[in-house]
Symmetry: C2
């Protein structure tokens, strides 16, 4: 038990990333049943859809799980009310400032854990009443910040006194223990859960993640100020070549529109947006969510057990 497992009432300090389209009720329930914290991604869905997801998850697990609210969603207000009405255990947030919701969420006993990519933002979240922050490094998939996990985590740990969960680039026990050494009390894992058996993701997308090596990760849209990390494919080749010429933010957004759905649902590995972190290179097979958690936790035990090399005592 540590601060995070106690806070969340879970067995292992492993959270599942709130990946839009990917993180629906089956994956979330499987992660929670495996001893971690499963998270349903609100994405751009409306409250009715997410209510259905929450209730279906409850049919599959009696363990705590969370909902990720993407604050740019037009339904963010509705989703926050929904998680209060449904008494969901925890909320993680992305793409914005959840400050105005925190008081009501806390009053309803919901644990609030915003994803942050900078020290200033982490401090603001602590002041606003967040229970923990998820410090996400730039090796993560999807929308990213600039600072890597190795540098962001210790800085956030130094800056706040609430527990810090590390995210970005963590796919096995080595990464998880490294994050703990940097001062984190938990880890959030995205990419590896993307290929979980229970993740309803087209096999073509999972296959690309499994096959990916270190040079397959690429960042698009840096010029927009909102960079997105995905795996290289025909789509990124076209986007990056247009970025080199001249491209407006509108054109960029139009090229990306609907492409995550195309990847997850239709399995278009060429022109779908294959969101994945750099840790895709460390992900080598599809496994059940429970096996993934056991593997990460077992890897942590193995790393700890192998200590003694240096300054061990």
């Amino acid at each position: 038990m540590n601060d995070i497992t106690k806070l969340l009432g879970i067995r292992h300090p492993v959270l599942q990333g709130g990946m839009a389209w990917v993180a629906e009720h089956r994956l979330a329930a499987a992660v929670s049943n495996g001893g971690g914290l499963g998270v349903i991604a609100g994405g751009s869905a409306d409250a009715d859809f997410v209510r259905g997801q929450i209730r279906q998850a409850r049919e599959l697990t009696d363990k705590p799980f969370g909902v990720n609210v993407m604050l740019l969603s037009p339904f963010a207000d509705d989703l926050m009310q929904l998680v209060i009405d449904e008494k969901v255990s925890a909320v993680t947030t992305g793409a914005g400032n959840p400050g105005k919701y925190i008081e009501a969420l806390k009053a309803a006993g919901i644990i609030v854990m915003p994803v942050v990519a900078s020290v200033a933002y982490a401090k603001r979240m602590e002041r606003g009443g967040a229970d923990a922050v998820i410090a996400e490094g730039s090796e993560a998939g999807g929308h990213i910040g600039e600072t890597t996990t190795m540098n962001l985590v210790p800085q956030v740990v130094d800056a706040v006194s609430i527990p810090v969960i590390a995210a970005g680039g963590i796919a096995d026990g080595r990464g998880a223990v490294a994050a703990f050494m940097l001062g984190a009390k938990g880890v959030q894992v995205g990419t590896r859960f993307l290929v979980a058996k229970e993740a309803v993701v087209a096999q073509e997308y999972k296959d690309r993640v499994i096959a990916a090596g270190d040079t397959d990760s690429v960042v698009t849209g840096r010029f927009t100020g909102h960079p997105v990390r995905v795996l290289r494919n025909k789509l990124t080749r076209e986007i990056l070549s247009k970025e080199k010429e001249e491209m407006s933010i509108e054109e960029f957004e139009e090229m990306l529109s609907g492409t995550l759905r195309k990847a997850v649902v239709e399995g278009d590995a060429d022109y779908g947006s294959l969101m994945a972190g750099q840790s895709a290179a460390l992900v080598t097979k599809e496994q059940s969510a429970a096996d993934i958690i056991e593997d990460i936790v077992g890897g942590m035990r193995a790393v700890y057990a192998s200590l003694g090399d240096y300054y061990a005592k």
Copy 2:
């Protein structure tokens, strides 16, 4: 003792980065006297200059030290012959493939440790006979690759059987232990040694490193295929604004030409190239090289001593 300290005959598995202009004989000797491996940067200097550096370092220390050979230097051939003639303990290399030199260096008993930024390159270096590789993540200062330390190190560890030294983003004991957890046997530290008392670096440059926070790091020249990480200043503002319009690689190189010297020697913090890694945000004061090493090593001991939180045994 571990593979790296044994290999190099040093006390602590801490190597100093071969920072051009910064890493001259005083810094290298101070790091070696402190128990790490000091490294003299060859940069673009000729053999006569570097010979002088080696001999002056030997007046200050009887401990092993290394020379970093930047392979794009017009004097690379001469420097490789020089380190053989001078029987320098170790060579680190950057900006190219040292393959053709390895046999002669090894024959002379010199330890060869190329800096690598990808898995394929690490494997090639192992096949070529390198004694170890320095896997440098994209949070490092100066010329960088794409993969972060958190992701590059375990992948390189999995791919080669020679020891791996982690570089990029490591400035304290937490980062060093995290690197060990990822499978590294040593760490290379650059930015923190840049502000060592023995580093002959203009105070204005050191002050910017010490003051830097997480949002002060920026990457220029991504469009050239050879990105460079520095601290934000007037120079980077101008370069980044020109990059947004249209800029040729020649214009970019001209804007940067001489700017590292301007920072290190002249102390022009506005228009000098303030090369530094993201770990600048973790660097808070000027100290002697020996104190920096003691602090990193003491930090490692403290991190190990605090274990027990999770899966500790």
